[in-house]
């Protein structure tokens, strides 16, 4: 139950995830942490290396293209 009526059970995606994690608060917190680590891993390992060449930050050579 929220502080404001429109929070009732409708608190966005993070709230949705929190509510669907099993266990008590500590288990939920631990699972959340695992999820965060997993997301950061996927970003660093796959998403950022893929996105980096598409962004204009790291061209160092001179070329005529």
């Amino acid at each position: 139950m929220g502080l404001v009526p429109w929070f009732d059970g409708r608190d966005g995606m993070y709230g949705w995830i929190w509510r669907h994690l099993p266990g008590n608060v500590w288990v939920k917190a631990l699972l959340s942490l695992v999820l965060v680590v997993a997301v950061v891993y996927v970003l660093f390992q796959y998403v950022f290396p893929w996105a980096e060449p598409l962004l204009p930050f790291n061209d160092v050579t001179v070329d005529n293209q």
Binding site: D8, G9, P53, D59
Partner: protein, 253 residues
Amino acid sequence: MAATTDTDHEEQTDAPGGQPAPPPRGRGRIALAVSVFGELLITAGLVTGLFVVYSLWWTNVMADRAADRQGDQVRDDWAEGRGGSGGPGALDTKAGIGFLHVPTMSRGEVLVEKGTSMKVLNDGVAGYYTDPVKAELPMTGKKGNFSLAAHRDGHGAKFHNIDKIEKGDPIVFETKDTWYVYKVYGILPETSKYNVDVLGKVPEESGKEKAGHYITLTTCTPVYTSRYRYVVWGELVRTEKVDGERTVPDELR
């Protein structure tokens, strides 16, 4: 989807009591849309922040690790008598051809490998140009331009302090058998990335008109962007044979 938790929300959803009655439909939907949108914005901010951490820190960690490994490999090969001597055919170009020492730019050494593709440079090494202008390697003994590129930021950031180099500073290239000692004579702090003339056999923009043994370092500028290119030119002053202990030339002491 990213998973972080918002303490305010935790308290609300964890408060004792069953599921509350659903709120009026229209308002609930809008509220939901707004809160999801807000969380997407927060997520985008976090992801952007993480990308900065990735670019400026993590890529350096990975690149330094790769460069150290490949540099050790080259040193091992040299110690065991592979690579180096002989004509260009005898060079194991894939593993790296030597090390660049620029005392005013960085204390360490920079491994030099073939090519300037991101795949090569992202390992925290400097690459010699094969395209659009082929670099003339110093060990061929021919006159020409030994043109190199490396990252300014991230991926080892080997040329990060290129702006610390001044005219007269030494650039030393180390191969298995020889130290090639260059002296910086020209600096171009900003040029277009299309300016391939700076890599020319005789880089005229540096003020030279005759063929000689030149070295050219290129990287991007200003820092943290790729808008322009920074160019440093040097000319070969002398070469020194590598002795048994690999005693470094005076310029590196």
